[in-house]
Amino acid sequence: MKIGVFICHCGSNIAGTVDCAGVARRAAAYPDVVYSTDIMYACAEPGQDAVIAAVKEHGLTGVVVASCTPRMHEPTFRKAVERAGLNRYMFEMANIREHVSWIGKDMEANTNKAAELVRMAAAKLRLNRELKPKSFPVTKRLLVIGGGVAGIQAALDAAEAGLEVIMVEKQPTIGGKMAKLDKTFPTVDCSSCILGPRMVDVAQHPNITLYAYSELEEVSGYVGNFDVKIRKKATCVDWDKCTGCGLCTEKCPSKKSYDRFNEGVGPTTAIIIPFPQAIPKKASIERDYCRMFNQGKCGVCAKVCPTGAVDYAMQDEFVDVKVGGIVAATGYDLVDWTVYGEYGAGRYPDVVTSLQYERMLSASGPTGGHIKRPSDGKEPKNVVFVQCVASRDPSVGRPYCSGFCCMYTAKQAILTKDHIPDSQSYVFYMDIRSPGKGYDEFTRRVQEEYGAKYIRGRVSMIYPKGGKLLVRGADTLMGGQVEVEADLVVLAVGGEAAAGSPALAEKLRISYDGYGFFMEGHPKLKPVETNTAGVFLAGACQGLKDIPSSVAQGSAAAAKAIGLLSRNMLDSDPQIASVSVNRCVGCRKCIEVCPFKAIQEIDMRGLPKAEVIETVCQGCGLCNATCPQGAIQLSHFTDNQILAEVEALCRF
């Protein structure tokens, strides 16, 4: 074998603490190395061209590039060696940036370590074989998890492009958080007026199948061919018969149920249609509050239903579908702000969340769009907004900025003035974060035209006194303490990953961060991909964002999914396991450890043997390490290749 070695400077990233030319000189003496050089930027066009030219000039049959992490540029260099006429697997990469230059300053030690890593890569490369991918057909169907604005956008875009779309929504209606909002910033246009038609489009689009009040139960398979099991939760109402007339919700005698859609601003019934524009507009029973389930008798809804749709015995159902790609768009939830004892921890009824306030502002909300204090129903005159509640606060484990609160608080202050012209709003803020288009102008308008008083400082305490709430805080611009008498306090509560996000991520086999947000493939360059092929992200599940960004990401995820599913066949990764039937004793240990169900038992002349399903295997290597007989080998990472690396490292 004729190996060429290229040591990348990465500008000063590597060359700053590694003697690249020295490493190249040492590499020239490694077995089978016939050409060795250092290079300014291996990934740039001149760098790639130099690699290709060297292959041709020196008749190289394998290439080692020592540069950054393979996560970054392995595909780049594989393509380059392919252009040079080699098989793409006749290439090895040594990571001397993340593993060497960035983590140590000792030039000599770094240079030694870099040289060792290059020696390992070259030793492994000597045993590399040419590998060829196989191709398999793609299921041209997309699953969208979550029916908020991001999911709706992704579903509509994909459906318009001709894909079949399955949408799964946990709640009885789609619309997500946006459906709860009264108006949107910075245009103050009606939220349900712009979202409503999109929701209707989802319901009516011939390419979209909607499973509301359903959750993802199981996912198996792989990119292009995922097998998905959907749990349709029992609504106790036959939605084929339900016409959404609402008679049942009028007659239901259990009138003190928690109204999830209205954030508990007013009570609701046990059988509900969440709101007038709900999609699907069908009734469902909340069993926790239903008398039939709790007291064993009632049956009023069943009696009044003109179509006989109520079925108390209904059980959860399961639907199995095959899809080629998945878009996760599960959104966010508000942080439980009652951890703040200094704000009353939920003991004071006139301290409400921003989302509850939206429902009070909304004409279709429980107060009919009239702002009323929950305690006595009176119209408030002084309204205090407290920003950064459970945002930018490490003491409650939420050090990040939620990003949208500054803007919605400004909007709510404007709406407060519109609803109650003689009211006065106060906004306690840390910084005003308004970097969007037209955003900063908006936060100025609320102060200059609507007279909201912005106080820069944190609120230390909220407590009731004489029928009002005293809000005590700091004014850091004036360098003093302030106390404001409020009739109503609105907490701009920050967001967190939707409940159950980590569990869903584990089902989808995608990564999530310490807060439960799903990890994108690359923070800059792969914002909607994940590290699992075929799974894409849209909206706040990836990180909190406002409506325009969520919609943009929804479209971006759809574009990625459309690109994937536009192909008839996909190449499978040839770096997979294979079983040597002569050595296999049929002990089934590999079948037990395989996380992808990629190994099956076959019968070979009366003997049980393991067999790898090539398209399912992800090449993780668990079976390889588990097999007591050494019967399983992972292509491109064979035992001999690993041992060659170890030997290269432990020569003395």
């Binding site: 703040y340 004892g341 200094e342 009353g344 003991r347 305490m461 407590y463 009731p464 006194k465 004489g466």
Partner: protein
């Protein structure tokens, strides 16, 4: 009652401004079976002047207290004063750091050997004794007395150091006062600052902050503000003249919780030591007695009404049973009806008994 034996650190205030706290604490602990062994030749914890000047010197003072405890074989001690508690605890925490500990040992020349624990009197009473046992010990109920519990800044904070109750909305004192029979009113300023030692560097601050607390207590309708901290007590009680000059006119007595416990346990005045308070508590007790009488009268009425209701229900049941018996003419039905009647009569009567017991 099982005995609890602990070391006791009275704190300097206990010998002077909070003598009533000290005296009532000793009496109450004796009654609850908490054996107090005073730390021999203890010294000042260092208080604010020490820890705000030099952490090592402050910890050295605390360290000597623990060393004195060790001499008497005491590793577990309690103190009535939250400020002493905070200082002693902070010292123990700092001493975990070997470098800091070496600096302190160089000063004291007495390295600590034992594992030390220090808690407040309130914490031990509420956690080791508990409201049920306290209630059982009550001889003179505080029924009719409206109180607000005032914990001050330090009893539950800093949260990580004190590790006791909810830092913003503690309830230990609430539970304790309820066990004594008092009516505990909602009090949002439970942990607000009374002004602390600001009275010395910035005199105007303390009456303003203390006034805010008294004002809120008055507005809530309290007869008394119950405290657990000598400095809070002094600011709220002794400075009522200054507070009044600042425009807040709320003449409220400010007893320590241990004083009310001593009273409720039926201990003599020299142990409750109410006479040491600046603002007289007797008007509050007079209020309490009047209200207790009213409450009892009201409860009597309710009980009578309940009994009357039960009697009528029993009559109706008996009549219904008779009718049923006449109709069917079988013995079974009559027996069944009689069973119902006795059950109906029993239930409300049982409830009245419980009420009586509480009264």
């Amino acid at each position: 009652m099982s005995r609890i034996d602990v070391g006791y650190f009275p704190g300097c205030s206990g010998l002077g401004t909070s003598m009533e706290y000290e005296r009532s604490t000793r009496a109450v602990c004796r009654e609850l079976g908490i054996g107090l062994r005073e730390i021999p030749d203890w010294n000042c914890c260092g208080s604010t002047p020490a820890h705000s000047t030099d952490a090592a010197l402050s910890a050295a003072l605390a360290s000597r207290v623990f060393a004195q405890g060790e001499k008497a074989g005491i590793g577990d001690m309690i103190t009535p004063c939250p400020s002493c508690l905070k200082n002693l605890r902070a010292a123990l925490e700092h001493l975990e750091d070997p470098l800091f500990s070496a600096r302190v040992e160089a000063l004291t020349e007495r390295p600590l050997q034992m594992r030390h624990r220090i808690r407040s009197v309130l914490q031990v009473i509420i956690e080791d004794v508990g409201p049920a046992k306290i209630k059982a010990r009550v001889r003179r109920s505080l029924k009719g007395l409206k109180v607000v519990p005032y914990y001050g800044c330090l009893m539950t904070r800093p949260e990580k150091l004190m590790r006791f109750d909810d830092p913003e909305n503690p309830v230990a004192l609430d539970r304790l006062l309820e066990a004594l029979g008092a009516e505990v009113l909602a009090f949002p300023l439970k942990t607000d600052c009374c002004g602390g030692s600001f009275a010395i560097p910035a005199r105007a601050v303390t009456p303003r902050l203390a006034g805010r607390i008294l004002d809120m207590a008055g507005e809530a309708g309290a007869d008394a503000v119950v405290v657990a901290c000598p400095l809070c007590q002094m600011n709220l009680d002794l400075r009522q003249g200054q507070i009044r000059a600042g425009g807040v006119d709320r003449a409220l007595p400010v007893p320590y919780f241990t004083q009310l416990m001593a009273y409720a346990f039926g201990l003599p005045e020299q142990e409750a030591a109410f006479r040491k308070l600046v603002q007289d508590i007797q008007p509050a007790f007079a209020c309490m007695s009047r209200r207790a009488a009213d409450i009892e009268a009201e409860e009597g009425k309710v009980a009578a009404a309940e009994a009357e209701k039960a009697r009528k229900a029993a009559e109706r049941a008996a009549k219904a049973a008779e009718k049923a018996a006449e109709k069917t003419g079988t013995k079974d039905a009559a027996a069944d009806g009689a069973g119902k009647k006795s059950a109906a009569a029993k239930k409300p009567k049982g409830k009245a008994d419980v009420d009586g017991g509480e009264a």
